[in-house]
């Protein structure tokens, strides 16, 4: 069986590595729409932004796998797929395979701001985005980051410099709305940026090089838009396999067409941890969905069962989250010391996530507990820490 993978990001590369290591017998065609060899994305907003010169450092696949004989790398933009025929059509040619894997990922959402010249606006999603941003930094003293999520704050801390003023402007009523107020507060203590919430941007004023907002003018030599991502589902939509929300799949990553699978941040499937159909943007989703598909293609299918997890670095602070909470889930602080803070997110007695700031042990214990099943809020409070609950569950 020959397969064709559309995309060359984290999910595609995990699939490739597992297929090569599992001695997959067919050919693997990989359509890479970018002009770089596969690279890791998380460092783009973290360490790598300081010095984005050596892309070798963030290379995603080891040489022996990338150059394996079963792989054929095709640098092309895929413009359409024909599931019934197994055709993948790029700008430069068509190929036919037995199975198509959509690993098209997401793209950064953009924002049209009246009067703002294109060369002053940046997003961070790809390697070339980072390189462009880095080039523009020299002349930027007043940097505005629009957004309220992890990316906005990671960028703020990576861009910290004595000659720069960094401002984060958020539309909503609070920064970091996806995590608890208490975890967000801990993170906000560390940020070098000044943060303003409830901001609407009216336009950009060229003369004063400022964004005109409902809170008055905000100086901006450079604007970074970090308001989230949207899935690249056009190929799937065109053949009835998806919507702008994502590409629905079963727990084996199969779409509604038997010849097409979807993995990574585009796939929309039941998250067993939450018992809810949703699309998750994270490395864990990319890796776990790719592994699930790899097992199926290698003839040993096992349904997707992973619990999502996330992490974010803000200077000295490391925030690690096991599980995934809904925005209105309750929050209870479990541990709060000078260095550590651990917050439980829960829906009644059902724990949905553990947010651990500088508390790696608690985070790891939470991952292990989620793997074993659900966590009771009451039991956790009684145990006093995730770690002790894990230990008592083991004895």
């Amino acid at each position: 069986m020959n397969i064709g993978i559309v995309g060359a990001g984290q999910a595609a590369c995990t699939l490739i590595a597992e297929l090569v290591r599992g001695q997959f017998s067919g050919k693997i065609l990989v359509f890479n729409g970018e002009s770089y060899r596969p690279y890791q994305r998380p460092p783009l907003s973290k360490t790598w932004l300081h010095n984005p010169t050596d892309s070798e450092l963030i290379r995603l696949l080891p040489e022996p796998i990338e150059t394996h004989a079963s792989l054929e790398w095709i640098q092309d933009h895929v413009v359409s797929i024909e599931p019934d025929q197994g055709v993948i059509a790029g700008k430069h040619g068509r190929r036919t395979v037995d199975h198509i894997v959509l690993a098209t990922g997401t793209r950064a959402k953009t924002l049209a701001i009246d009067g703002l010249p294109a060369d002053k606006v940046h997003v961070i999603r790809t390697l070339s985005d980072t390189i462009h941003l880095h080039e523009a930094l020299d002349a930027a003293y007043n940097i505005v980051i629009i957004g309220a999520g992890f990316l906005a704050f990671e960028l703020a801390s990576s861009l910290e410099h004595p000659e720069r003023t960094i401002r984060v402007l958020a539309k909503g009523i609070r920064a970091l709305p996806k995590i608890s107020v208490k975890a967000a507060d801990r993170l906000l203590e560390e940020t070098p940026a000044s943060v303003r919430v409830g901001v609407t941007i009216e336009r950009y004023d060229q003369d004063s090089t400022s964004l005109i907002t409902n809170h008055g003018p905000v100086p901006a030599d450079l604007v970074i838009v970090a308001i989230g991502a949207e899935p690249n589902t056009e190929l799937a939509i065109a053949c009835g396999l998806g919507t702008s929300e994502g590409i629905p799949t079963d727990p084996l990553m199969q779409t509604t067409h038997p010849r097409v699978s979807a993995i990574g941040e585009v796939s929309l499937h039941t998250q067993p941890h939450l018992n809810k159909v949703m699309r998750i943007e994270s490395i864990s989703e990319a890796n776990d969905s790719a592994s699930t598909l790899a097992k199926r293609l290698l003839g040993a299918p096992e349904p997707f069962k992973a619990t999502p997890w996330f992490w974010s670095d803000q200077g000295k602070l490391k925030l690690q989250i096991a599980g995934l909470a809904a925005r209105n889930d309750e929050e209870t602080c479990l541990i709060d010391t000078q260095t550590e803070r651990v917050v439980i997110r829960h829906n009644g007695d059902h724990v949905t996530a553990i947010e651990a700031a500088n508390a790696a042990k608690e985070f790891m214990a939470a991952r292990r507990l989620f793997e074993q099943g659900s966590i009771s809020h009451k039991a956790l409070l009684q145990a006093g820490s995730v770690f002790s609950l894990l230990q008592s569950s083991r004895s």
Partner: protein, 106 residues
């Protein structure tokens, strides 16, 4: 180039050349050593880059940071010689030393 010998989970010994200054993860990744998942790509956030220093590395490395030690305490079959490959920076003193990839990352 200095090099390490790395034994993968299938007991295969692989020569891993490295540039001083890079991490064990960067060097083993380039060499294509099997069994190191490194799910977080070197972020000290996943503990799936667990390796065991098998020859005498004594005195050539700083002790693990608190974060690394905490993560390591959850690695499967963690030993006093266990480290996270993404957190260990190599230098010339490490030429010729050996390590092994943990048999299981979780």
């Amino acid at each position: 180039m200095p090099q390490l010998t790395c034994v993968d989970p299938n007991e295969q010994a692989i020569n891993v050349a490295f540039e001083p200054g890079e991490t064990i993860l960067q060097a083993t990744h380039r060499a294509g050593v099997d069994g190191i998942l490194a799910e977080c790509g070197g972020g000290c956030s996943c503990a799936t880059c667990h390796v065991i220093l098998t020859s005498d590395w004594e005195g050539t490395l700083d002790a693990p940071s608190l974060q690394e030690a905490d993560m390591l305490s959850f690695a499967v079959d963690s030993t006093p010689q266990s480290r996270l490959a993404c957190q260990v920076q190599l230098n010339g003193q490490h030429d010729g030393l050996t390590l092994a990839v943990a048999k299981r990352q979780y």
